[in-house]
Symmetry: C3
Subunit: 353 residues, 3 copies
């Protein structure tokens, strides 16, 4: 059994998670693990039904689950209306043992511009480079090697991991988390076609990011052309996502990895975009539109709901036959229509006879 510095009784844990305990309240829990890997003394969870098969054999000392799964569990249970939320809280409790707070203050190797306001409680790590007129709030953490342009503000409690770039005039709200390699505020992809070549539209706008936003590793959020690109409050964005210039993302949207959202598109609040999706420019998605993974969206979607266009993998020899036919689908449709007509004529003739 792994012993951790963080231990807690099931009774206290139930209170912390807002869960109903069935089992010994004095049992001590010192970590969290999957059903398959959990050892005695650890808490586990059932938050995805595809793992139900591991419930019977788990060695965990307690399991977070829904009421519906209680009868299948032989160990103490923490019954939750939202097991995933309870799990998040439990993990946060045990995570305290592994996170090291970075040292406060400005590392001597950091390079600062003029007229910056940096809270005493903030961390500016080694080899950061910060422009002029930058404001950094209380408890902000800038990881190693970050580059922050002129006239930026980063508000209280925001953590920016190593090697993030912010261009000039970027505003980031409170309690955000931005992962390594993200680039905030590069120029949008906007050009005028002229004599067969391209003339750049200079990008004067900035980027404005709300509170409690998480942005994934190597994601890029371009600055607006004239106005700001806007990310609402509570938005979560995965790795390698492209957010184009002048995009507006509503509050609490979730955008999975490798998705591209082209310029000037607006997402309503609470949209969920699956991985590898592509959303065209200059369109609008209503509140609570859900786009499944790998879907292409090329027109506005004015109604909440789930939308899809991705195809799923089949054995190559089957696929080849079907994809070959796809390119004659219009022809097939016309032949079907002609045949329907012909059969109707024949049917009428034979009936008449």
């Amino acid at each position: 059994m792994k012993q951790s510095m963080c231990s807690i009784s099931l009774q206290e844990l139930a209170k912390l998670l807002g869960a109903k305990l069935v089992g010994d309240p004095r049992c001590i829990i010192s970590g969290v693990a999957t059903l398959e890997k959990a050892e005695r003394g650890q808490l586990s969870f059932l938050t995805n039904r595809s793992y139900r098969k591991y419930l019977a054999g788990t060695k965990a000392s307690a399991v977070i689950l829904s009421q519906v799964d209680v009868e299948n569990c032989d160990v103490p249970v923490l019954i939750s209306e939202n097991p995933r939320l309870s799990l998040a809280k439990a993990a946060a409790f045990f995570a305290k043992t592994v996170y090291k707070a970075p040292p406060k203050g400005i590392h001597p190797s950091a390079v600062l511009g003029a007229h910056c306001t940096i809270a005493a409680s903030a961390t500016v790590s080694a080899h950061c480079v910060i422009g002029d007129n930058v404001s950094i709030g209380e408890n902000v953490v800038l990881g190693a090697g970050c580059v922050v342009g002129n006239d930026c503000s980063i508000n209280a409690g925001t953590v920016i991991q190593a090697r993030v770039t912010m261009y000039d005039r970027i505003r980031i709200g409170q309690n955000c988390l931005i992962h390594s390699g993200a680039v905030i505020g590069a120029d949008g992809f906007g050009f005028a076609h002229h004599e067969g070549g391209w003339v750049k539209l200079p990008h004067i706008g900035g980027v404005s990011i709300g509170n409690e936003v998480e942005i994934g590793a190597n994601t890029t959020i371009d600055r607006g052309f004239l106005e700001d690109t806007q990310i609402g409050n509570g938005v979560i964005i995965d790795n390698l996502v492209l957010i184009g210039h002048n995009v507006v993302i509503g509050d609490r949207c979730a955008i999975a990895g490798c998705t591209a959202i082209a310029g000037s598109t607006t997402l309503g609040a609470g949209c969920m975009i699956g991985g590898g999706a592509s959303i065209a420019g200059h369109i609008e998605l209503a509140d609570n539109v859900h786009i499944t993974a790998t879907t292409g969206v090329n027109h506005s979607l004015n109604t909440a709901g789930v939308y899809s266009s991705g195809l799923s993998a089949k054995p190559n020899h089957i696929w080849r036959r079907n994809t070959a036919r796809f390119h004659y689908l219009d022809d097939m449709a016309k032949r079907l229509r002609a045949l329907e007509h012909k059969v109707q004529v024949i049917a009428r003739t034979t009936e008449e006879e």
Copy 2:
């Protein structure tokens, strides 16, 4: 009304933009904004017909537009044959107030290799690391934290934003703009399959980039295996694009974000590639091939024109029915053919009777 340090009369602006003025030539313009957001004293524009609905209500003091839209506009107009080009020029004029030129010279924290030639007018920002035998031309700007390998040359007027990596033996032309996080010259993805595993092909080639090229944030352009990967003049590449080893991109191509171009593929001049496209390796695209967003290209395209393969989003319940049928398309085609035959036989029989 926002007041900017850059102001210009409509008369002068018309001259600058090559546009025909209808309205008071003495009217002073001090900024540019969208039709919806423009205030009095600002210039606006109609370059995309989906914004025509905002023309009537705009508070702008003048609008750049095409001859065809003049009659729908109640405020002074700047009539242009290429409104987007006029807009680019106008934005460039007003952008002067927001861009700060970086200080010339080499920041003391930069680390330089041996035998480098760096123009006195160039900027090498904080925490840059530059290899041996590097040549940096007049007015080149290297942003903070850039890493440049050995034997590279960056020619006059090129701006490289923060945190760009150039490996060894990369040549970048004049007046290019490379955005943060781009990686130029990593090894191509080339391996020999051997005993179930992979043996690396060492990449001896480099990357050669022409003049007036723009490369987006976190885009990667791999070095060639033996020869250089080549990007032509006037090419524009968006964020998160993958250009494989030995790819050759013709002059003035435009490649939108999240596109992948696999190794040894050649694009002719003036190609336009939509976002999220995938182009296979070892193929050729003719001049002026246009690929729409999310299209997969797996064979050469020898003729200019527009090519597509992306599917568009539909409500999930409709999509599911159709995608399920897709996997029986070949079967449907055969049944259709059989039915046509059968009906023809019946038709002949009934006619004969």
Copy 3:
């Protein structure tokens, strides 16, 4: 003819490559080039049949090829059972002239944490930032501007190019190569939905990477939620790939660029994933599953084989007709079934008559 510092006789080269020489063994070779570009004194190769057309006209002094192509070649040949492997070995021989070994030791601008163990033969380049309790093995190279978190280990012979980020608790095996901009160990995209918003699941797990792994530029590999994300031995991963939290990649898998593998998915050994593929979370791929480029995989694949779902580009006007029909495919299928029934009834009737 280009003269290189590395020269070798065909006889020695044949021995080095494990190839059978037909031609003058004393002929001196001083470089390698494509059939089209090779000059006298250079070695060339035929490893892809689409380049067979250049064989007749090559100026190369010798060509690596398969037995099957010997009769079409007029110059000396090196006959190999695996020409691509022989090419890899030849390129490695000539590459020695262009690779400069970086200087050993720790650059004075690097910032090191407490309790680090760094081999004397290792290179820690300029502006690296290394956390506490980091172990760096013999001959490891850390390029400029890398950031390594706490409690990481990087084992002997591994090369990490410039500007790579490793978060805390990452383990990298021996003889790996990680390209610039890669981010190893950012938090997975795991959240609980709560009151319309998102509560973060803290990620306590790490990342464990085997030996002889290559990871491409700007690729991201997220840390596990509770356990490690795992990359097996001999795996090769291209640029801009997303590997989600708790993914397990089997030994010797190859993953091409712009592919996304969502969280908790397991790939068996020897899988090959084409570029731009999307693999859903919580699924399993058997050993030796091959996924062609741009394919979406949304369920487990339990049998080795080739799987596909990508569509290929067609001229836009043809495509538009077919894609429009696609959205009525279910309707077509039903009409086809109805027609079959109707025709059967008619056929029976006419036969009876």
